[in-house]
């Protein structure tokens, strides 16, 4: 299936030469004289014919039906119906079929638009095709792009440049400077001097942990005159858990992380945070970058045989794939769009390649064919993605349980046992039951247990282990009702007495509830089988007087354990016992006879929630097989373990699906399948097939990517960008032919070689870069030099940068003493069972938090208002570089935003304890800028405080706001 690009290119090259010759020939000798027969035929007859009849709809950008007829490639590839011409076989060529009008569904040109071809013209076409369809037109096909042959020569795709031998001390940061200084000298640029220590520690602290240094940290650094002073700071920062939050956030930008799915209702992804935290953690423990990449693509498979925690981590890491954007009303119908998002991000993130351009047609600029795209598509189609739910298909499924394997085994066993027991009880009920009574309970009605025949409940003979079962069922047109139950059993010949009401204070001690008040079970029936209610709810509707056993919703049993009436959805009378059937599922109370006895039974069933429905029904049965009690009690004992599975943590992650190859989708349309494409690697990198058809091929993919130096180059460039504001290549997501070649290619390759040599340690790479003179330069430069290299491509100075949205917000909280540095987990989304999101009423929320801004809940369909204002990442597509824009609406934030005002006020409130204004002013400058105010600044602040009306808090909050809004706070020098 590999595209025969080689042949094309060879042909193209030949033809280009030919065209040039042709031109010369035309000038020198006249057209006819020098041309071969088929060339003459084409130039004299075929080309004019195609231009006249076909080009209107099939040339340039006009490609009706996907067909271009202005290039050879155009008809070779063909349109939606396949290749238009089969060289040598005119009768098998669709073009001939179309123009001759023999097929009524395929008549060309269309009657409305053009004249039909003359018979003579059709014959010409046939002759041309029969002769082999010579066609020199390859200019458009060649396009501006790169051919497969050119791949090994392209700066990003070739092997790493050999180490440069003349510079010694390879492996140290001096090598970076040696390379940079060389190019500076060539440009006649002079680098700036090293920056001062205060600026440097502020710079490196933000760059590594995204927070300002404390005044104490600055002082310690200033006081440390040792040669290792800077190294100590770097090590301290790299060891801080806040490092992972800062650099993990970079990664989340690139992988377009979001906490919602992005389909039409933008459903929450309550488990996606595990991936987010895995990323932060991976940076913190300096997981080697090749493993970091492999785990995200195939962690579930790579860790299959590892210990449990590594296995879970591997699963969570594939959250990278899982968080792909979902599309449409019914996600399943737009799976091809999700796959595009997956492939698009995979290419950009790991390889700096825009692979998804090849979804509809071969890549215009890079040698990536549509087959390449669908070869990768097959790998992901063989992978099971989690389903986040959508309006058309309901709630989430296919989440991956994170569970200890041993526990899982125990649960599986318990589940089997539960199913056996449930079936046994079901058959005992159906085979050995005597109905004592049954009745409908009308809306708001009350019916005694003895409804049917009074004497059935008097002097009833029961044997130890038999069961009395009171089942309450929903009626036809109404889901269910809260139903009051009173039920007393007394020993007709003694003074023993069992009453449901005596369970009210101790309902939650167990189910089965075993005490001196008897043995009672609370169950419901689903498909005729009994299930225990295992969910224990110590309060209902935030009322601790109400307790319940339930499945989470209905069915349930419920008590009002107080001496007062409790108004909730209805008024629940004091000290009362209720059941609530589900819309389909009856709920039942079972009493297990503790002894052989003759009993009298009294009680009633009442609709406690008259609300316009049609009440409930009940059935009261005596199960006369003494086995049933024991089975029921065992069932009750094992049920909680089985049900605990649904409460176990899950990951939003992928697992292996059904291995399959997919057909190419012509013009990206899933309705137009073409040939099936085997799963394999990109042909530009060799096109290797997956190793076994029985797996998805993700492990192969992870390997192919991480064996290619490209993946390391791309990451090195990102890290460099993180420290210098721009990458060595300024197109970090595009290393293809449209990307920008690095001005310092040797440097990129040298750093990449170091990265490889250090086992892809990202922290080592930081160290290497941070210790260079280039990183530690001053930002101040003479304006003539700035003009000479306005983009600072040659790194003669440090480029000032604005703090990111997250850094600004975190700094405000940090300075105010309000930043919570703990690790955040999930968001306070509404519980999944309550989701009823529709396109008309989609999920939308903004959650406040004092934790680091990298933890803010980010939605795909509704931008977070703060992050959108300050150029936060786009959660819909990979953000490799954040734009910085300065707009007045940002300034409005610093004038009027309540959050901003709060942080300033918090900070200012602590100034009160200080002895005098000058100390206060110093304190603000130290906290915000880690330096003392200058005399001029002291004066401005002094004047402000005396001129500003209002009390202490108002004055000092205002001054704090002004300084928190100032340029110095927002820019790193």
């Amino acid at each position: 299936m590999k595209r025969t690009r080689h042949e094309w290119t060879t042909l193209e090259t030949v033809s280009m030469k030919f065209l040039a010759l042709l031109l010369m020939a035309c000038v020198a000798f006249g057209l006819q004289a020098e041309l071969r027969g088929d060339e003459v035929l084409f130039e004299a007859k075929v080309r004019p014919l195609l231009v006249k009849h076909c080009y209107t709809c099939h040339s340039g950008k006009r490609t009706e039906g996907g067909l271009s007829l202005d290039t050879r490639t155009g008809w070779q590839v063909g349109g939606d119906s396949g290749p238009a011409i089969v060289p040598g076989k005119p009768d098998d060529s669709l073009l001939v079929v179309a123009v001759s009008g023999s097929n009524p569904d395929l008549k060309m040109p269309p009657e409305a638009t053009g004249d039909r071809l003359q018979q003579q013209e059709i014959e010409t076409l046939k002759q041309w095709i029969a002769n082999g369809a010579f066609d020199p037109r390859d200019v458009a096909a060649k396009r501006e792009g790169m051919s497969l042959e050119e791949v090994p020569d392209w700066w990003a795709f070739r092997p790493l440049l050999p180490q440069i031998p003349q510079i010694e001390q390879a492996g140290s940061s001096e090598q970076i400077d040696a390379l940079i200084d060389q190019s500076l000298a060539m440009q006649h640029l002079t680098p700036t001097s090293p920056t001062d220590k205060r600026t440097l520690i502020r710079r490196v602290t933000y760059d590594l942990i995204g927070l300002p240094p404390t005044p104490e940290e600055v002082q310690a650094f200033l006081n440390d005159n040792s040669a290792e002073a800077f190294s100590k700071v770097v090590d301290r920062l790299l060891n801080s858990p806040q490092y992972g939050v800062k650099w993990g956030r970079h990664w989340l930008d690139v992988v377009r992380y979001a906490d919602t799915a992005g389909e039409n209702t933008d459903r929450p992804l309550p488990h996606a945070w595990r991936y987010r935290n895995w990323v932060f953690d991976a940076f913190n423990r300096d997981l080697p970058y090749d493993q970091f990449v492999q785990q995200q693509i195939a962690g579930d498979i790579l860790q299959e045989n590892a210990n449990e925690s590594a296995q879970n981590a591997g699963v969570i890491a594939t959250g990278y794939l899982a968080i792909a954007r979902r599309f449409g009303h019914d996600i399943d119908k737009d799976v091809h769009l999700m796959q595009e998002d997956v492939i698009d991000n995979l290419g950009k993130t790991f390889l700096g390649l825009t692979i998804s351009c090849a979804r509809c047609h071969d890549h215009k600029y890079d040698p990536i064919s549509a087959e390449d795209y669908y070869a990768l598509y097959g790998i992901f189609q063989s992978t099971r993605f989690p389903f986040p739910g959508c309006e058309a298909k309901g709630q989430p499924r296919d989440l991956v349980p994170l569970i200890a394997r041993q526990a899982e085994r125990a649960i599986a066993e318990a589940e089997q046992q539960r199913d056996t027991l449930a079936k046994k009880v079901q058959s005992l009920i159906s085979e050995s039951s005597i109905r004592l009574s049954q009745s409908k309970v009308g809306e708001g009605g009350s019916v005694p247990l003895s409804a049917e025949k009074l004497d059935a409940l008097q002097r009833l003979q029961v044997q130890q282990g038999e069961v009395l079962l009171l089942k309450v069922l929903p009626n036809a047109s109404h889901g269910a009702d809260t139903t009051l139950i009173e039920w007393e059993i007394s020993d007709a010949d003694g003074d023993r007495f069992w009453s449901l009401s005596s369970l009210i204070p101790t309902l939650l001690t167990g189910n089965p509830n075993v005490s001196k008040h008897g043995t009672w079970c609370f169950v419901y029936f689903t498909d005729g089988q009994p299930r225990f209610l295992t969910g224990k709810y110590p309060s209902v509707e935030q009322r601790s007087e109400l307790q319940s056993w339930s499945t989470g919703e209905t069915p349930s049993v419920l008590v009002n354990n107080s001496v007062h009436e409790i108004p909730v959805w209805t008024k629940l009378p004091p000290a009362s016992f209720f059941v609530h059937p589900g819309p389909q599922d009856p709920v039942a109370i079972a009493w297990v006879a503790p002894v052989d006895a003759v009993v009298n039974i009294a009680g009633r069933v009442a609709d406690a929630h008259p609300s316009g429905g049609d009440g409930v029904s009940f059935e009261f049965t005596h199960i006369t097989d003494a086995e049933v009690g024991k089975s029921l009690l065992t069932l009750g004992e094992i049920s909680p373990l089985v049900d605990s599975r649904s409460a176990s943590p899950v990951a939003y992650a992928v697992v292996e699906g059904t291995p399959q190859n997919v057909p190419l989708q012509q013009r990206g349309d899933p309705e137009k399948p073409g040939d099936v494409v085997p799963r394999r690697w990109l042909s530009m990198f060799g096109g290797e097939m997956i190793s076994t058809d029985s797996r998805s091929g993700r492990t192969n993919l992870a390997e192919w990517i991480t064996q290619n130096p490209l993946f390391a180059r791309v990451m090195v460039n990102r890290i460099w960008q993180g420290h210098f504001g721009q990458g060595l290549s300024t197109t970090p997501n595009d290393f293809g032919s449209r990307g920008n070649k690095p001005t310092q290619l040797e440097l990129l390759d040298w750093l990449t070689a170091q990265f490889q040599a250090n086992d892809y340690s990202i922290k080592a790479l930081h160290r290497l870069i941070l210790h260079s003179n280039a990183y530690q330069r001053s930002g101040h430069q003479e304006s003539t030099l700035i003009e000479q290299d306005s983009e600072n491509r040659y790194l003669s100075r440090f480029e000032r940068r604005r703090l990111t949205a997250e850094e600004i917000r975190d700094s405000l909280l940090f300075v105010a003493g309000e930043l919570d540095l703990s690790v955040a987990e999930g968001h306070p989304f509404p519980p999944e069972a309550s989701w009823k999101f529709t396109q008309h009423d989609p999920f939308t929320a903004v959650y406040e938090s004092n934790q680091r801004s990298a933890y803010l809940m980010v939605q795909r369909q509704r931008r977070h208002p703060y992050l959108a204002l300050f150029d936060g990442a786009d959660p819909n597509s990979s953000t490799a570089t954040r734009h910085v824009t300065t707009v007045p609406t940002q300034a409005l934030y610093f004038y009027n935003d309540p959050f901003f005002h709060q942080q300033a006020a918090k900070f200012a409130s602590r100034l009160k304890d200080l002895p005098e204004d000058q100390v206060r002013i110093s304190k603000i400058f130290q906290a915000l800028f880690q330096r003392s105010p200058t005399l001029v600044e002291r004066e401005i602040a002094d004047q402000f405080i005396s001129a500003y009306p209002g009390n202490f808090d108002e004055k000092w909050s205002a001054l704090t706001r002004v300084l928190m809004a100032s340029n110095e706070f927002h820019y790193l020098d």
Partner: protein
Amino acid sequence: MLNSTLPRRQFLQSAVAGSALFSGIFQQLLASESASLPSGEPHFTATAKRIIFLFMTGGVSHVDTFDPKPALTRDHGKEIKADHPEIKDRPGYERIYLKRPQWEFAKHGESGTEVSTLFPHVSTCVDDIAMIRSMHTSHSNHYNATLGMHTGSFSFARPSLGAWTSYGLGTLNNNLPSFVVIAPKQTYAGTQVYSNNFLPGAYQGTLVVPGSEPIANITPRVSSDRQQLELSALNAFNQSHLKASSDLELTARIRSFETAFGMQMAVPEAFDFKQETAVTLDSYGLQPGQTTGFGWQCLAARRLVERGVRFVELIDTGSSGNWDAHGDMLSHVSLAKNVDQPIAGLLKDLKQRGLLDDTLVVWTTEFGRTPFNNTADAKGREHHPWAFTSWMAGAGVRPGIVHGATDEHGLRAVENPVHVHDFHATILHLMGFDHEKLTYRHAGRDYRLTDVSGHVVQDILI
């Protein structure tokens, strides 16, 4: 066309976005760069300087409003066949029947353009309107069609029409944003309908929600004299920070605070209708003191374009309670009443002030509604991407014409069909842009609003 100079460009744009005083510097700096940069200079003479874009959420039925179909009345109840995306594999929709329009149509004005009784006020403006009865779109879902109408992309998030326009043209008033969206609620595509996406953030729409604080953080939290003191101190500290080094980005940020200070006055002033006469208010159907409703949005739009805002989008309703009349077409009555008089008031007001000459008014929805349903007496209509009506007025648009037509039942756009991409190409043309040349390099590709298609609808241009 922006590839190599991109960072510089963004930087310059950001400088100018915050500052009136810097436009001179901006022009100077630009002079040394490529001439094709979008710098507020259109590709050719524009007839429209600004746009008011009226978006009706949910899908307005064309056959009940602006596209008269007598044959549909005649053939009511007749069964038809259609390979329609909304009925494909849908239980209960195996058979479909034509459903007649529920409102009468009549000819209006000198042009004689027919409009139904749902829009009695807009009917009086038909001589200024170019009605496009042959619109069609690429998707039958609300989300996709809404996204498509705003961004030219039917699946993926892309910059919106308003963002492209302000990217291309810049702003005319530095105290106000260049792109404003007035919406009481969000459409089906959320904030994406006014997102900048990969364009710089300066080009995103500023959301105005009718009510007490129309723009986030616009209401001063301290008195003006205090804020003045804060601004002076801020400037003083910033100057001290700037010292000798002249950095345009820092200076731009300083200016942005002055602009924002001005915005706190300019925005309330723009939304303060006290100076409007009773006659004007009345023409929009507004009561004195009213601060919500579509009439308020329309008058606010006029006041914003008067003050130099480039692109004002008005969204009538949100993702529920809108024109999505599956259940009963009668819901069109109150929705039409909500917008009819305000729209007519806006057109007349613009015309009377001479603003209609260079202000383009666009009225549209995401798709039409089916001229059929699964029973002849069904009360509602389904989503219909094959045909709908949009219209334009003012600024270089031929007045009083009808362009294109649907078939006799309003099922398909058959004469001069206008796709959403063509619609966008035409709007950009009126704003002075060749839609194929207004591009932005992102991830290795030059993106444009019209993707890879779009033809200017020449017939509706003067």
